[in-house]
């Protein structure tokens, strides 16, 4: 299976973030982690 692993590297782009904010409700429902994770 390792032969079938394709790895690509890309830079983070602010435009991508803004696009996803516009297209998804992530800012409302987001629970990828805890906001108080640093407590």
């Amino acid at each position: 299976m390792e032969d079938n692993i394709i790895i690509e590297d890309v830079d983070f782009k602010q435009e991508l973030y803004e696009k996803n904010i516009a297209e998804n409700s992530l800012d409302i429902e987001y629970e990828g982690g805890d906001l108080d994770a640093d407590n």
Binding site: N24, Y30, G32, G33, D34, L35, A37
Partner: protein
């Protein structure tokens, strides 16, 4: 398996991945969203919350947003908690609504986790849940469906990776015994699907092809594509598809 690594800007290290770490395990999450892995990662890297995770997995790829040798803020157990400080945190996408996309994402996540376990030389005991780190009911849908069931998926991929199929003796493909499909006196359309809605080619009258059997009342055939290359330098090219007429199956 496709892994897309998005580089976290160093200016965000302090809020996303403040410490170097030598990982000691894996923590599994569900996003409680219906967004893709790239959407999750780009949102995570773009906002200014102390909320982060190493990778998100959707129904067709893994998107990694943090180096695996840096800590993150995902497990809810504080800056120095085991989950945040010592484990690779992985989000499984599309968990809010579930369905086929979530099922596929979970499957790919199992494959990715098995790959990581092998990379680090770990056993299945290194895989935990967000709930184990800080008590939150997460990964919610994976837990609903059964944690041991998910671990078994990982075990399956671990076994697969440890016992790969030996293809070393196959140089130009293998040719197992198959039946013959002999076309009749009229041209026979070939379709890519058993509902026969997408035509991909046809068999000439009296043309013979390999036949792998009958599926959904259609004959599956492998046939030579005419006209590839030149008369002086012909190129062997084959297609596989389905046809309606079953009288050709021998």
């Amino acid at each position: 398996m496709q892994i897309t690594r998005v580089k976290c800007p160093e200016s965000k290290y302090s809020i996303k991945c403040p410490y170097e770490m030598i990982p000691e395990g894996i923590t599994v999450h569900n996003t409680y969203n219906d967004a893709s892995a790239m959407a999750e990662i780009s949102y995570m890297l773009g906002n200014d919350f102390k909320t982060s995770f190493h990778a998100a997995v959707d129904d067709y790829r893994v998107v990694q947003g943090l180096d695996l040798n840096r800590s993150c803020f995902a497990s809810g157990d504080g800056r120095n908690g085991f989950g945040n400080r010592k484990t690779i945190n992985i989000e499984i996408c599309y968990s809010k609504s579930g369905g086929e996309k979530f099922d596929a994402a979970e499957e790919l996540a199992a494959e990715y986790i098995a790959y990581l376990l092998k990379q680090y030389g770990w056993g299945i005991d290194k895989v935990g849940t967000h709930q184990m780190r800080s008590g939150k009911y997460c990964p919610h849908r994976t837990l609903d469906y059964g944690w041991e069931r998910f671990l078994n998926k990982i075990r399956y991929y671990m076994n697969y990776q440890n016992n790969p199929v030996d293809n070393s003796n196959i140089e130009k493909g293998s040719d197992e015994p198959v039946r013959v499909y002999a076309n009749g006196s009229t041209r026979e359309p070939i379709y890519e699907n058993t509902r026969c809605t997408k035509k991909i080619g046809s068999l000439d009258p009296w043309e013979k092809a390999d036949c792998f059997g009958i599926f959904e009342n259609r004959a599956q055939v492998r046939y030579h594509v005419n006209g590839t290359g030149t008369d002086e330098n012909p190129i062997n090219d084959y297609k596989i598809g389905f046809c309606k007429w079953l009288g050709g199956v021998k």
